[in-house]
């Protein structure tokens, strides 16, 4: 029903994707997986008719070769582009978005259906809130249900679950799944969550602008089972992540059942890529035992309480995961710690110092690094210029700056993008260099708001390795939010927020002892649904 023949997408001086061909039948969900910048979005844009391409696409008998010819299929199509709520108007409320999309797509109001969508996204009670005031994940969910609103026959979702919490991710999946069975739609979905990818009917694995493998998740996993071992080790010739090690050479380790993400690692190894060694020099840091101490921090937006008397302690040399569903108040909490939002109630101590005014923060500035969820980069400057700019703000010498840029761009693999503008880059690449910006001035405390959302598996593995290394060698304390429950395993301790209230504050080890045999995701859901 959908037939893509030899599609190539070119940009000014690079090829986005080359010779992609595949077929999809109605009722099928096709998953696009692959590294950031591998060509998934380019393919989606071509099929959605918003980007010029070479080749031919046929959907339900309609043939098109260009965006212009694709006009005729647009009434049957919904595209959700990548990014946190990219298609939303900050000054329009949730309700107004529904009205706008209903009208421009010329769909009749179906109150029952809309109610279901809103409930599913957990936005029913927030219909009057402006999109600009929604949390990152809430924005993402709103974009998704707006894409579903016109009941499209061809649904193209570019990383729809980036930044969406585990519970909502399951609900989202259910709705898309139910939808395709009932209405026989074709859905093309790219994702960085391999659990999701496993559920899709067919997967296309993209790498460097080409589809290098395809098939069901099981078939892909089968293809790497000879290279998968249990446990994690440190070596140049193999990659380790999520309690698995992937190696082309035989290892003296127990074989394990492969995870889908292993496909990326094995592919990288086959291409002769080395696992980057990260070895930092030991640094002595004299820090107080507790670097952040929040007592009863509270934030209100009008009558809505985003954070309700939250206590939190971040100890020196610790990675603390701040978890919770979308809209639970994680970003708001971090912003209070940083002074980006005034604190309505409660007391805050940073590095042993009571924070009352702006002046109190000034001298701490050089000690704190922050990476925001919707990055605060300058769109008018290239990646390199951005980094130079921030380096200057922190009084780094030109020589130091150059070294740092070289170091981080190699470490996180964005060297070839240094002269591009943030806007033109895949989300995952932007995440990486935002993180580098937060690290430039060698802070002792790091606040990271969903640094790995939308970042591909290999980069996430590198990233976590780096975090653990700076924690151990430099004694940096890290407060991090994430919706990857598997990443929570890398934290020393987690704090879980639910609707602005703290419901868990415990060591990861202890939680596992409490619930033997459960994955962290299962533990999280247990707490969240109130059954623990």
């Amino acid at each position: 029903m959908l037939e893509v023949k030899n599609v190539t997408v070119k940009y000014k001086n690079i090829v986005g994707v080359r010779n992609v061909s595949f077929k999809a039948d109605s009722g099928e969900i096709i998953g696009f997986i692959g590294a950031d910048g591998a060509g998934k979005s380019s393919t989606m844009h071509a099929i959605a008719g918003v980007k010029r391409f070479e080749g031919e696409i046929i959907f339900r008998g309609q043939v098109y070769h260009s965006p212009k010819e694709a006009e005729k299929i647009k009434p049957q199509l919904s595209l959700m582009p990548q990014g946190l709520g990219l298609v939303l108007y900050d000054n329009l409320s949730v309700k107004e978005h529904f009205e706008f999309f209903r009208n421009i797509r010329e769909v009749k109001r179906d109150i029952e259906y809309e109610k279901r969508l809103l409930n599913m996204a957990g936005l029913y009670e927030f219909q009057d809130r402006l999109a600009g005031h929604l949390s990152g994940g809430m924005r993402q969910k709103l974009s998704l249900i707006l894409a579903l609103l016109p009941r499209p026959k061809l649904l193209i979702l570019d990383e729809p679950t980036t930044g969406v919490d585990p519970i909502s991710r399951r609900e989202l999946w259910d709705i898309v799944d139910g939808f395709r069975k009932k209405e026989g739609i074709i859905a093309l979905i790219s994702t960085a969550y391999m659990q999701e990818a496993e559920k899709m009917d067919k997967l296309l694995l993209f790498d460097e602008g080409e589809v290098i493998a395809r098939g069901k998740a099981d078939e892909l996993k089968e293809s790497i089972k000879d290279y998968t071992y249990e446990g994690e080790i440190e070596s140049e010739d193999c990659f380790s992540f999520n309690n698995r090690t992937y190696s082309l050479k035989p290892l003296n380790l127990k074989k394990a059942s492969p995870l889908l993400e292993g496909v990326f690692f094995v592919n990288a190894l086959k291409k002769g890529k080395k696992n980057l060694k990260i070895e930092l020099e030991e640094k002595e840091a004299k820090l107080s035992e507790v670097v952040v101490k929040a007592e009863g921090l509270t934030k209100k937006f009008g009558s809505f309480i985003a954070d309700d008397h939250v206590d939190l302690e971040l100890k020196s040399g610790e990675i603390l995961g701040l978890l919770g569903a979308n809209g639970a108040g994680k970003t708001t909490f971090m912003k209070m710690l940083l002074g980006l939002y005034p604190i309505d109630e409660g007391e805050l101590y940073l590095l042993g110092k009571r924070i009352k005014s702006y002046e109190d923060r000034l001298e701490l500035k050089s000690k704190i690094g922050y990476m925001s969820q919707r990055f605060a980069l300058y769109e008018e400057m290239s990646v390199k210029e951005n980094m130079e700019y921030f380096a200057k703000m922190h009084d780094l010498s030109p020589k130091e700056t150059k070294e740092k840029i070289e170091y981080f761009s190699t470490l996180f693999g964005f060297k070839k993008y240094l002269n591009d503008f943030p806007k033109d880059l895949p989300l995952g690449i932007n995440q990486r260099f935002s993180l580098s910006v937060a690290l430039l001035h060698e802070p002792v405390v790091l606040f990271l708001d969903e640094p790995t959302s939308g970042v591909d598996t290999i980069a996430r593995a590198t990233f976590w390795k780096f975090l653990r290394e700076i924690k151990e060698k430099w004694k940096i304390s890290i407060l991090i939010t994430t919706h990857y429950m598997s990443e929570a395993e890398y934290c020393d301790r987690v704090v879980v927020l639910k609707r602005g209230k703290k419901i868990v504050d415990d060591e990861v080890k202890k939680l596992h002892e409490k619930f033997p045999g459960l994955s962290f995701e299962e533990i999280f859901i247990k707490y969240y649904e109130g059954s623990a």
Partner: protein
Amino acid sequence: MKLGVVKAYLKKEFIDLWRSKMIVMVYLIPMMVVILFGYGIRMEVTHSRTVIIDRDNTKMSQEIIRAFSTTKYFDTKVLNITDNEALRLIKQNKADLFIIIPHNFEKNLMHSRNAEIAVYIDGSFPLRATTLEGYVQGVFLNQLEKNGVKVPFKINQRNFFNESMRDENGIIPGLIGLTMLIAPAIIAALLIVKEKEAGTIFNFYSSPVSKIEFLIAKLTPPFILYSFNTFILFLIAVYIFKVPFKGSFLLYFLASEIYIVISIGIGLLVSIITSRQVTALVLTVLITVIPGFLYSGILMPISSMTGESYIEAHMFPVMYYNHLLYDAFLIAQGFNSPKNVEYFFILIFYAAALLFIGSLLLKKELK
């Protein structure tokens, strides 16, 4: 065209203009420009410190000096100094201009020989300098005419119609023309580029919304909003600056509406080639301000332009609108003058052409 789609887009556009406070910009900026510049320019050109060096010492030269001393535009001092000393006065900012009436000035004039006077004006503020130049010419002109002398120098057209020699009369309509060129273009460009920058442009690209629907939705708001501005600016000119309005309001209004379309058309073109708001803003200002100033008649009357600049002036729509604007305010020939009719149609042509080109170039796809 699907009306429901256009309506939905328009509603969103207005809500956004209102909540993002962009609406303040729409009204405040043109008003501020006209009022501030209007006052600013007016204050600069009264009481300019003038040094007259009279080397002729005749009845006529005395008369000229008297003429200069009796207007509020000049604070005259008659000094007996050398050219260099006078120049130094300007450099030290102790004088704004000096005038040298040379030896034998009267005699040369009477014998219809080339009579030259030297005028040195501090050019650090060019606009003021040009205005002052016009004044000086005006005073001489008046004076010589009284004495029945046919003058060989060119007359500033603006002052010609601006008999009372009130500067506002010339400047304010010019400023209206300038703002009406810049401001709607900026808003039109920003409304589109904003969506590109945020990513919301995908709602247009990937939906069945047609190019025409999108354009109507995007260009109508600035058009309507600035239509009100034509009234506001008119009232400011007539009531605050007391500029006479001698001609037809209909002509003023119609010409302004067409001019707004032209400006919006420029904004549309800018929005097609840019994808960031800052770039769009800077580019629009660059494209509109320079011709807007040059060919508005504020700096230099078109009639005194020669060669290339004369042709260039005729290439931009600015001159045509300003001509109609001055006619509406000061001259009042209206549609009786074939030139005005011609200019009116030229404006319509520009508006149609810009919109046409814009809608052709607009693509429903990513770059």
